[in-house]
Symmetry: C2
């Protein structure tokens, strides 16, 4: 990741704000706008400012590592998609949140809300033999959905960054095996994003071809979804299908706890739903044509970022987990520029990601901004701290302040 | 960059092809499609396959490093842009390659072909004082332009990845200084992409507010542009404005050479063209409102990639410069799997980017694919090479074959 690893706050154009826009009702967007991570262009459409883009890139890299680890090959498919492909799958007329656009010749196209209509015909060009299977491809790509109500900040955008993974298989057993691998990769991703403890693997409606799909639901008071968590095995059932299910499909338990939650990922066994319309197949060992089946696996990056904010904040601001924080250290100079600059240089040399508040404003304003922005380690250089032999170190999460020798600080943060 | 640093070719789903689609007339897309770098979804709309995405990411990182070095702050703006902003600048009705889309309420939006209409109102929220200036922001973002003829492969897309940088200034002198910095950064980028020798800084029409804009034109027989290169100072003039200019605006020379060329970048002094409609200003030292002026600076990433292919190829395929090659080494196993696997492991351990052709196909097919894909170093492990004491090393560019001890090879490639 070749982002800046350090930055002076005086140079950061996106400043913190006292108030979020009045029409912004969601907590995640309110905090992210006030702290200078995102800007709202219109309902459901946001600009990612320098701090926000850094968080997005960290999330992207966590996901990339885990999807590469299960053999995903990264590609990048287009937004503009031909109407004919959407007609073949029958979704041109049935998907009501599809944005449609015309080119100069009057030809109609869709703005991709998902990419089955691109990936399947693409595979037709490369797949010949059963020996080519299984495999999986994925992308980080900007999606478009015509949301009627876009009131949830970056949790539900009209335009949003998504990781979508597609896997291709000869038979159900093979798909089942990959599905389990993807599930484990997803848990690793949510673990690394600091959310594992409150992530529930959730049975949800599977459409017409598989009994269930699965969602990764994060328990959160602000969630738009409702899940029922089995108190025996800790799997959950989405309210959408709860009526049809009496006992836990996993363990047979019947003691459920209702919780509000946010869906941060979902995985589907699509079977031949999209391969059949495009007649996608390969020749088997006997030289006969054989249908291919598919799985698909999504994570919304903005939604994950917004969820982290919904979970990790207090009345003063955001509390980022280190793994996705825009910087590791927030260095505050309180009138001791020479010493602060020196520490900034040393952290930079050690490649510790640091935001250095070198602005000429009051200590109170600097503390308030640091709490709002929510970088994990706050390091204060003041006359008082230097007299005590070092710097004041505060963990945003724990809130405990400790005076530390500069040498010890550098050792601690380098790890 | 967290892409795979190594890959087995047997697992790469995007295979080479004998023929490009019949409707693909451009050389860059023909080669890139045949070699498995891109796929054409429709005219001017391409998918980047694993090898192609790796090249794009390398180009992106070169640009990112050089733009960060001149103080650019990276952000990410949306594709969907409100009609009102485009009406304010007068471009809603005048820009004829603007894609327009409606949401469910009938509200009209543009698909961003450029981002002045987003960045200027964004700045209104953050800029207060003259002390906030100058600064520059940029993004890598997917652009949309309704091209009437999209026949140039990835050189001219309807949808294309672009780096767009915007700078903000209090006065012309400050803008001029930043403009020079951006120019130098651009030359560094084209230098690193292997194109510096044939890149010409070119005077072009500047619109209504500055006398000239400047383009970075690469001399290429397939270019759609025509430039006149001053034989004295090596600056060039775009044919568009040549009629109005008799002598070189730089040195006064009048001996010009006509060349076909591809525009890979352009830089504009916009002055107050977009800041005035949004009334973007700051208070100066005296507390009075002062207008801000702007510069903008673009590079199309796909266009740069396509240009590299137009320049660096021979009758057998692409010849990537090392800096943007999808891998550094193409390792070919010709029936010596044990030894080849060992070398693959050692290269991987040393973090040398390697594509390992472990497929069970003929030597001829492997050689043909290696030439088509165009990775800088081809390393062949065969019975013959092992008998001679090592591996056969061939530089794609030079074409000279050398037998080398494995130990020496590892030392050589590690550098």
């Amino acid at each position: 990741m070749l982002l800046f690893s350090h930055m002076k706050q005086s140079q950061l154009f996106a400043k913190t704000q006292k108030n979020a826009p009045k029409d912004e009702v969601s907590l995640n967007a309110q905090l992210l706008i006030r702290a200078g991570f995102v800007d709202k262009l219109m309902a459901g459409v946001y600009t990612y400012l320098p701090l926000g883009l850094r968080v997005m890139k960290k999330i992207e890299n966590i996901i990339r590592e885990e999807i590469n680890a299960i053999g995903g090959q990264e590609i990048l498919m287009p937004t503009l998609q031909p109407k004919e492909n959407w007609q073949k799958t029958g979704r041109w007329d049935t998907m009501d949140d599809l944005y449609k656009v015309k080119d100069s010749s009057g030809r109609e196209m869709a703005l991709g809300p998902t990419h089955e209509e691109v990936i399947v015909p693409l595979m037709e060009k490369f797949l010949n033999s059963y020996k080519d299977l299984p495999f999986a491809v994925y992308q980080f790509q900007n999606k478009f959905r015509m949301e009627r109500r876009a009131k949830s900040g970056i949790l539900r955008g009209r335009e949003f960054m998504m990781k979508d993974l597609y896997s291709f298989h000869l038979n159900e057993k093979d798909l089942d095996e990959y599905y389990e691998k993807a599930k484990e990769a997803y848990f690793k991703i949510f673990q690394r994003a600091g959310l594992r403890e409150i992530t529930y693997y959730t049975f949800a409606s599977g459409g017409s071809f598989s009994k269930y799909s699965h969602e990764f639901q994060i328990v959160a008071p602000s969630g738009e979804d409702v899940i029922y968590i089995c108190q025996k095995c800790k799997l959950a059932i989405n309210k959408e299908i709860k009526d049809k299910i009496e006992k836990c499909p996993e363990c047979g338990g019947s003691d459920f706890k209702e919780e509000k939650s946010i869906e941060v990922g979902n995985i589907f066994k699509l079977n031949n739903k999209y391969t059949a319309p495009f007649n996608l197949g390969v020749t088997d060992e006997k030289g006969e044509k054989k249908e291919i089946i598919m799985g698909c696996y999504g994570i919304g990056l903005g939604r994950l970022m917004g969820t982290i904010v919904e979970i990790y904040h207090d009345e003063r601001g955001i509390i980022w987990p280190v793994s996705v924080a825009p910087f590791k250290v927030h260095l505050l100079d309180l009138g001791q520029k020479t010493e602060a600059e020196k520490i900034y240089q040393e952290l930079t040399n050690k490649k510790v990601e640091v935001l250095y508040d070198d602005r000429e404003i009051s200590a109170g304003e600097k503390f308030a901004d640091a709490d709002l922005i929510g970088i994990p380690w706050r390091v204060v250089v003041s006359k008082k701290s230097l007299e005590k032999g070092g710097v004041e170190v505060k963990e945003r999460q724990a809130g405990k302040i400790e005076v530390m020798e500069i040498k010890k600080l550098l050792e601690k943060l380098e790890k």
